[in-house]
Symmetry: C2
Subunit: 411 residues, 2 copies
């Protein structure tokens, strides 16, 4: 299958536009609102946080998507999460959707507008600023790459890098695009989905198949990253499909669906890894790959436990091949396994080093290990020797900067 | 019931002795081995880590206690955990127990000696040093308080304070003592028990009732503390009862058993809180008290989730009343509850401040909140308004020093 990366992020797909605005919700005078708009109403699917405490926009978006409304516009702000804000928070979502609808002269129904927020929990939305922001966002909408990039930057909070990616592929002889933007740097330990992720495609696909593709793909992408073990109240991942590529609509499983899923997976995995690498304060992308496990579930459980271990993350920061902490994190993960069958390696572009085998430590070259661990990306490869299943998780190291950021975030 | 705190730690109970020695297992030339000895063989109970990867001494001690052997001696080292060390690690335990037996001229059977280790995972025990240490420990055994304190200091790793405590109480007209020492500062998130905790008592009690008292008490003491979410491979909590107080032996539930359990709880809760307050790099003891919950299990789940939340811990370090992170951690805990019924306060000796009520934020005096959070102990009081159950968890803040300690621990 021909698939290639292309520029344009959420604007890579035909008919999608984006814009950004500085509404003054965050203090810094930088862009803090973004809009995504499709010329044609979209088939829409979404996945949201499993946190019992759900932010108002999550509750709003779940209703919009469940209603089957054809979504044309998404408005997002950073700075305030609109979570734990009670009835006033829900009214803010409604007022935002109404303001977007008004911005399009009523052509877009308020009941089809998606609303998303990220930032401090427990503050009410400054609605005057938000409405002014929306008034600015609508006329600035544009198809160009720069607008997609501006939108992806406007939704950043403690992120240090904007994260957007898109691919081009073929479905029933038509060129199709799928792109996305995401943010997430702290409070990242998705159980259903990631912090905020917006995907756009010009593929023609039914709502049922779109939701199926999204729900099954997040399990091995966004649900496999962790920055700090805190599952957010605002996790949102939505995909809009406007069908403008003109391919035969995907309405069932089969080759075309598989092709679409592969494209979706490429975009999601790329964005998920970038999110992990840009975890708050991170100096390493830390990948944990579990192979030859008894079951897929067990492989995922082991990989997630290691990538989330505070002590392992601190060791990676210290470029210390302290593999005992990895065995320890595997042991308390809940998975049942025989420690005597495990083999453990550190590996990346610099090289590969074996540190543990058959229940006992292996003498290894500490200098070479330090060299491997000094690279900005490092993989802990864990062989279980109990089956054929594999899972990969992504995270980052625990650094002084993480503590700086999070002890001073709200103030 | 009359119960009072007394000095003497593990030597407070009649017939118990302790000693410490510098065996050179750690680098610093400070004491790194400790021994506890009872003049009379003891009824013994223990609880151990639930980690699938169990250190060799944990496996050894479980066997000794299961065998019903009357324990007279416990030997402990810091510096090396003897975990992930395979067959050689198990042989080291046996050799240590044999060396202790030899130290007493064979009067203490090797099969009744408890062995315990804490430190780096994945290194083999330096048996020559260990044996020399044991040779030094035996003749130094003494009943005095200073020996108990020296033993409690010898088992410290990254701990900054030694942790020992004892109480005196009455059973069937006899004066009884129960004391303990504990260590634990990192890799603290006990699921069965804490890192290392040794309790001694001169009470007369059957093995069955002793195990029952210990197993039920750790649920609300050691199992309710968390420093970093990592459950160790070495968690061990044992209690030795030599019966020298001369009380009527406790062989069933009833008033005497309840009295004993209250004394045990006082010692365990005190040591657990000290362990949390002395978490690696900690500048705050952070207490989370959940009240009016639907069930005891749910209260425990909520309290543990909040006390373990990385983001909440960083906010406490920053003296930031960022209560949204607490609601968030409650929400992903797995407990089902109605966020709109929750009320949240910060409280300690400085004062009490309400921050969240009925689903919405409450305006509060930020300066006063900062004053409360600047105190070295702070409690998050969470009212659920769904029932009558209560649970308390203890932890500490996430600081720069934690990262310092753990990015450089092994090297």
């Amino acid at each position: 299958m021909g698939m290639k990366a292309v520029n344009g992020g959420v604007c890579a797909a035909e008919g999608f536009m984006a814009s950004a605005a500085a509404a003054g919700i965050r203090k810094h005078g930088r862009d803090d609102m973004a809009m995504i708009f499709s010329e044609k109403p979209c088939v829409t699917a979404g996945t949201f946080t499993s946190n019992v405490v759900k932010a108002a926009p999550v509750q709003w978006d779940k209703k919009v998507i469940a209603s089957g409304a054809a979504v044309q516009a998404v408005v997002v702000n950073s700075g305030i999460a609109n979570a734990c804000t009670g009835e006033e928070g829900m009214q803010a979502c409604e007022a935002e959707a109404k303001a977007v609808s008004d911005g399009f002269g009523g052509a877009v129904p308020a009941s089809s507008v998606l609303v998303s927020s990220t930032g401090v929990i427990g503050l009410q939305m400054p609605m005057d600023k938000v409405k002014d922001g929306i008034t600015e966002l609508v006329p600035k909408l544009s198809h160009d790459e720069a607008s997609a990039t501006a939108a992806s930057k406007a939704i950043m909070t403690t992120d240090t890098k904007n994260k957007e990616f898109a691919v081009e592929f073929t479905l029933s002889g038509k060129t199709v695009h799928l792109g996305g933007m995401t943010k997430g740097s702290g409070m990242i330990h998705p159980r259903m989905c990631t912090m905020l992720c917006f995907l756009t495609t010009d593929a023609a696909i039914s709502k049922e198949m779109l939701q199926k593709a999204l729900s099954s793909d997040i399990v091995d992408t966004y649900n496999m990253i962790s920055v700090d073990g805190d599952t957010s109240t605002n996790d949102t991942c939505v995909i809009l499909a406007n069908g403008l590529a003109g391919n035969t609509e995907i309405t069932a499983e089969g080759e075309a669906f598989d092709t679409f899923c592969r494209a979706l997976h490429t975009v999601n995995e790329t964005l998920a890894k970038r999110m992990a690498a840009d975890g708050e304060g991170a100096s390493h992308l830390f990948e944990v790959k579990v192979v030859s496990a008894k079951s897929k579930d067990e492989a995922r459980t082991l990989a997630r436990s290691v990538v989330s271990s505070t002590l392992t993350k601190a060791a990676i920061y210290g470029r210390d091949a302290n593999w005992g902490r990895i065995l320890c994190a595997m042991g308390y993960s809940g998975a049942q396994f025989d420690p005597d069958k495990v083999r453990l390696y550190f590996v990346n572009d610099i090289g590969k080093i074996e540190v543990y085998k058959d229940g006992t430590p292996i003498a290894f070259d500490e200098d070479f290990a330090k060299e491997i661990l000094s690279h900005e990306e490092v993989t802990a490869l864990i062989e279980m020797h109990e089956g054929d299943e594999t899972a990969t998780a992504w995270g980052c190291d625990l650094t002084h900067e993480y503590v700086d950021i999070n002890s001073a975030y709200r103030s």
